[in-house]
Amino acid sequence: MTTRLKETDVVIIGLGAAGGVAALPLAQAGLQVVGLEAGGLLTRKDFAPDELRNNYRGWPQAAQKANQEIPTSRANASSPTGPRGTIHPMMNGVGGTTLHYWAQSWRLNPWDFKVVTETTRRYGASRIPRGSTVEDWPFGIDELEPYYDKVEYEVGVSGQAGNVGGKVDQRGNIFEGMRARGYPMPALRWTEFLEKMASTARSLGWHPFPGPAAINSRSYQNRSGCMYHGFCNRGGCHVDAKNSTAITTIPRAQATGRFKVVTRAHVTTIEADSNGLVTGINYVTDGVDYFQPAKVVLLASYTYENVRLLLLSKSKAYANGLSNNRGQVGRHYFSHHMLAGVSALFSWNTNSWYGLPAQGVAVDNWADDNFDHSGLDFIGGGNLWVYSDRRPIGAAGTDTFGMAPRWGSAWKTFIKQNADRTNNAYIQKTTLPYEDNYLDLDPTVKDPLGFPVCRITAEFKDNERKIAAFTQDKMEQWYREAGAIAVQRGPVGGAMGLSTHAYGGTRMGDNPSTNVVDRFGFSHEAPNLGVLGASTMGTSGAHNPTLTVQALAWRTAEHLVKNWKSIATA
């Protein structure tokens, strides 16, 4: 038997990076909001500096719905499904993955919004990779700038601006779009090693700068500055210096008295009436079924679950899944190409035991269209990121660069000398959507409730692999110039697999035959259904998606507030 709850104005599915932000402008505007979160509530006491638990055992202290519905994955429709993972890259909990993410909080560059137009203008339409379904965003970066600004100040982002009001500042990213003002906090500090890498980049004629992070570099909003203790990578913050939505926008929304947080709510389907409007959410808590009626539904789980929930929510109006009458749900999927890294070995200690992955040196000279592609056979590029992050178990497993076996006395000699002498660069690369990369429901694998899990069918194509090889060349040059005695590269990329940067599947755009949601994030087919998250993004750029996801979430919420009557009573 299903318990029917009292109707609310808005129900949000998932209180992570996106839903946790959207709740605030809605509640502040006077709407009654219910937030359904699959996980529980964690606080800073739960975030012990424990490498084994954080990095090798997932997050067992949280209720992990996600781990029971890990997507299956294959490279393409004719390849076999690969082995299924045991730990989902994202987590459940109030705040979602903003609890344990790296917290890199980038704006996209202007080019990322206009890939088709700009590529065609500069190099000709033939340079759009064959088979790609890429479109321009329905708006440019100017439209999103006020929301980037809003989130940077509301959540708290540290960094060094590179273009305030059109005035380029060499200390920041000279390629960034114009911003109204700088960051609310200065960038995180650098170590000697990072300083050295930055000066080396300058000697190459490049423009290094500290990356932006949703981490306090000093006290902000009555919360502590970062303690640099080294357990930030898949770890929550013990002093609340990492600005997850759990300690920023969510409590502020709750303080209005109009935002109700429901934890351990396992959403199963979204209901729609015969007119195609959504009416509410079915969810299960401890085996008890509930129906939460709502005037508006905001779907804000992760990309895989956003797509899965839509495909599972079949009704008279939507025989193939909610908002899928044009077959676009699951299409235009891609995950960020952030494999194909480069590792270096130095002859001196880098002193990286304490630090965090968001503390580092970025080079954007080889990202996006920041360099001339006339003589090249690809479009886009990658952000080079050198950061400070090391823990003992991980250090013991580090590559030996062909200088020693992986175990035994010779290995022990190697690791004793070199445990702190390696560095791994993280290179995020432009990734595009393609006709034959998509998400759907797995035909055989089901979750414990009997619902099919999501299936990924996706692989990196030539354009991504060429960017990978090109940016690896640049990274190797940087490391060698800084004195690396050995450099190794990862493979340039095959199957996409499961990712923490998963895009598309409910793409945003003006054309309803190629996009699921409109330019404000509302369904082209079900006008009182909004979708939040990177599943709405049509391009990745070369930078982490979270800040863009949060800016879009704020914008969707603001649009809903301004158009409440027409959307809620559609």
């Binding site: 500096p49 303690m227 200690n349 250090a395 992986r406 175990w407």
Partner: protein
């Protein structure tokens, strides 16, 4: 270095039974303390850190494997005695006790694995049973003796076969089994001592890791960069502010 089986060693040390009995019960106590969400007794503030219960640093540093294996085993929770003996022999080759100091044996990597196989690593228990049996069969068939009776050189050559997938008689790939054992041996040697391994900070000292801190100021970082930051030999759970991890929780 001559390999001596644990059984032989136990016989040799049985004359000095009094101390081992005390130490064995200390081991049990620390396990119980863990179950009650406290840190192992041997690194708690109550113990003199120079001589944590059961792990006399001076002895292990100077006398190598024999002296260490002369210590009684902490009570087994998951592995059989035979499996534990085989695991001891394996980890003694993976991270040996040598001129660079103590290794996986002294760090109690096998104790870590034994405990974890009853909890967080329970899903791997069957793989250990089958893999260890296959490894010993392979040692017998290819080198003419059980693994623990082989010379260190022959043990290494068996392990290389297992690592490269050349060893026969495994269910699935022997390389996958090797990779799992090596990874768990790393966890037991370099993980937080809260989980039962990295005894006496052997793993962290080998790497030069200066210890778990909750605050690393700019001047701490400068001290690290100028070689002045000394290891604090602290576990995450010695900081009172944290909710204890459940060490046996299913991942």
């Amino acid at each position: 270095m001559t390999f001596i089986s644990r059984r032989d060693l136990l016989k040799r040390v049985s004359a000095a039974a009094a101390a081992p009995v005390v130490r064995a019960s200390a081991g049990r106590a620390s396990r119980d303390t863990l179950a009650g969400q406290g840190p192992p007794a041997w690194f708690s503030g109550d113990e003199p850190s120079a001589n944590p219960a059961g792990f006399p640093a001076a002895e292990s540093a100077t006398s190598g494997v024999q002296a260490v294996q002369g210590q009684p085993r902490l009570p087994l929770e998951s592995l059989t005695a035979q499996e534990a003996e085989l695991m001891d022999a394996i980890v003694a080759r993976l991270i040996p006790t040598d001129e660079n100091g103590a290794g996986a044996i002294e760090a109690h990597a096998v104790h870590y694995i034994d405990r974890a196989l009853g909890g967080a690593l329970a899903a791997s228990r069957q793989t250990y049973t089958a893999g260890l049996a296959a490894l010993d069969r392979y040692a017998q068939s290819s080198r003419g003796a059980p693994f623990t009776k082989l010379s260190p050189t022959d043990q290494d050559s068996v392990l290389i076969d297992v690592e490269t997938g050349a060893a026969t008689g495994f269910t699935g790939s022997s390389a996958a089994f090797f990779a799992m054992v090596l990874s768990h041996t790393h966890q037991g040697t370099f993980g937080d001592p809260y989980y039962g391994g990295n005894a006496n900070w052997i793993g962290w000292d080998l790497l030069g890791y200066p210890g778990v801190r909750t605050v690393v100021s700019a001047s701490d970082q400068h001290a690290l960069e100028s070689g002045q930051l000394r290891s604090n030999h602290k576990s995450a759970y010695e900081y009172e502010s944290f909710t204890k991890a459940s060490y046996d929780h299913e991942a």
